[in-house]
């Protein structure tokens, strides 16, 4: 025995290739996806740095979006690359700042929807019976209401209300509205996946040697459905960015600070006067972000769940 112990201590056994490592390898081989990941990371870094900049009150670039840099509606020039808006503010700075609003909203909304959808789906799928029926009833009811109308209703109701002693303003109302209404998809997926896995023999084996329910859900089932959550997160993020743009466009989003939706809304009137730069900038920003996220999300899905791949 001591001899064996020595062997274990002196030579570390080689590491195996986990399914996660396998997936990362498959993902890394897809060049377009990696380029898109770079774009997505750039957007995230931008949003993060604006947050940091605002927190420390640094006066650089996008945090100075409110500054007047030229005359009203100045077309793109070497001084103002993307021109100015009605107040003479830099469109470039506003566009960059819009990334912060969009990403913050989409991230918070995603976290809320995951926090609601995953546990509900897991509980429904694992326990079935009455609990399952209640949860299925709940999400079926929710998903029978048209999505945009539901978000609008939530956004209108939540706006300027005080929840738990905290006043819901601007983007908080937006991400609460999006998050509280869009957990249905992930809940369904997790429920289905848990139902599929819980009758597998490895779960039965775990029960047979006395695993607790909590351990089975968290140690055995969750790691096997986590990839579904990650895939859903990456693809849903795009939808949340769009939802934020739509809400801001409809005037229910952030009203004090620039966001892509609000910029597009402003630009509606300007287009007829030939002022195209604000519209173009906001649209391009949304376009490249959604495109990159979509391509990356698809590649992520193919790598994490190779059985799903459609070629």
């Amino acid at each position: 025995m001591s001899e064996r112990k020595q062997i274990i201590e002196t030579r570390r056994p080689p590491k195996g290739r986990s399914l996660w490592k396998d997936a990362a390898g498959r993902l890394r081989r897809r060049k377009p996806a990696m380029v898109c990941l770079g774009v997505v990371i750039a957007y995230f870094l931008l949003a993060g740095s604006i947050h940091v900049g605002e927190f420390f009150d640094l006066k650089v670039g996008p945090t100075l979006w409110a500054e007047q840099v030229g005359r009203s509606y100045a077309p793109p020039s070497s001084k103002n690359v993307l021109g100015t808006d009605i107040f003479g503010q830099s469109v470039l700075r506003k566009t960059l700042y819009g990334a912060k609003i969009s990403i913050t909203v989409a991230l918070c909304a995603s976290l809320i929807s995951i926090a609601i959808g995953v546990p509900l789906g897991a509980v429904a799928g694992y326990f079935r019976g009455f609990v399952d029926e209640v949860i299925v009833w709940l999400y079926s009811t929710l998903s029978s209401v048209p999505y945009i109308l539901l978000i609008l209703a939530f956004a209108v109701v939540l706006r300027d209300k005080t929840l738990f002693g905290y006043k819901v303003t601007g983007i908080t109302a937006v991400y609460l509205a999006i998050g509280l209404t869009s957990w249905v998809g992930i809940c369904r997926l997790v429920r289905g996946e848990i139902i599929k896995h819980k009758d597998r023999e490895y779960v039965m084996a775990a029960v047979s040697y006395g695993c607790s329910r909590r351990r089975i859900i968290f140690r055995h089932l969750m790691p096997n459905v986590l990839h579904i959550v990650i895939i859903d997160f990456s693809l849903r993020f795009v939808a949340f960015v769009h939802a934020e743009v739509i809400l801001s466009f409809l005037g229910l989003g952030e009203s004090d600070r620039p966001s892509w939706g609000a910029m597009i809304n402003d630009a509606r009137m300007e287009l007829s006067r030939g002022v195209w730069w604000q519209m173009a900038a906001a649209t391009a920003a949304v376009f490249f972000f959604s495109l990159a996220l979509n391509i990356f999300g698809d590649a992520l899905r193919d790598s994490l769940d190779p059985k799903l791949r459609i070629q």
Partner: protein
């Protein structure tokens, strides 16, 4: 047989009149309209150190028997006595203690190992769940078991998908043995493997049984496997045991027509054994 069972206490596991029915539900209100009688009143007993083979065709309820014994399936009636303790009426803590002493080896080694856990985590989990030993002791015990089932401690950080079918089944055996159970139930442990690997796993189980003094309940649908392996054979058909006898007796003198049919279906080794010799000079070919 029932006279034999009564009064003697050297049975490790006794199953009496076990019934497991699955309700068939129909209609909007999901009313129970009938039952599938997967296990319909079976009784058998295994002496400590013995191997009992449970054979029968696919769908006759063998797996349900296994699951009923360890309470993974809802039993309707009957008794399961393990070491004089009633399994079916055991409370939560008692059931945990009982499950510790019964190891399970599953049929499909692909679905019975969690694909996201390393071999070390899979084999070591029962130890962690029962919390008797910790840290390096667990690693030591896992390494010891892996070498016992013919793997090496090098494999401890690998994942199930990196192994072949036979190796995976060895991992399954290691997991079943890690808590040092008295009874090991093997639910068709070799039927998903190809023939050469089957014999490896069977030899492994036989060696381990001798070494550790295990009692085995061995489920199979292949009588040849059972003949090699078991002391007593129970033949199951449509949820019931139709014949229960010592292995030699069963093969020499099968009483039930179903048993006879099963035995006659076992393929004979050697091309000339059953069929009459043809006129093409089989001997010459074999001799050459």
């Amino acid at each position: 047989m029932s006279g034999d069972m009564a009064g003697s206490n050297n049975y490790l596991l006794e199953v009496e009149d076990l019934k497991t029915y699955f309700p068939v539900k129909r209609g909007v209100l999901r009313r129970t309209v009938g039952y599938i009688k997967a296990v319909d009143g079976i009784s058998f007993a295994i002496k400590a150190g013995q191997t009992l083979g449970l054979v029968g065709e696919s769908g006759c309820g063998k797996t349900t028997v296994v699951r009923s014994i360890v309470r993974l399936a809802p039993t309707r009636a009957g008794r399961v006595i393990f070491e004089q303790r009633d399994v079916l009426s055991a409370g939560k803590d008692e059931l945990r203690r009982l499950r510790r002493e019964i190891g399970l080896v599953f049929q499909d080694s692909y679905s019975s190992l969690n694909p996201r856990m390393t071999v070390g985590a899979i084999v070591g989990e029962p130890l962690k769940v029962h919390g008797e030993i910790r840290g390096s002791e667990i690693t030591e015990r896992i390494a010891e078991l892996l070498s016992k089932v013919g793997l090496s401690s090098e494999h401890i950080n690998r994942y199930p998908h990196e192994f072949s079918g036979g190796q995976r089944q060895r991992i399954g055996v290691a997991r079943a043995l890690v808590l040092e159970p008295k009874l090991v139930i093997c639910d068709e442990p070799v039927s998903a493997l190809d023939v050469s690997i089957q014999s490896q796993i069977l030899n492994l189980l036989k060696d381990l049984q001798e070494e550790l003094g295990l009692t085995l309940l061995f489920i199979a649908h292949d009588l040849a496997v059972v003949r090699f392996f078991c002391d007593v054979v129970a033949v199951m058909y449509m949820g019931r045991i139709v014949e229960l006898a010592e292995v030699d007796q069963l093969y020499r003198n099968p009483l039930h027509p179903y048993t006879r049919a099963l035995i006659s279906a076992v393929p004979q080794a050697g091309p000339g054994l059953q069929r009459p010799k043809n006129s093409f000079g089989t001997h010459a070919v074999r001799g050459g």
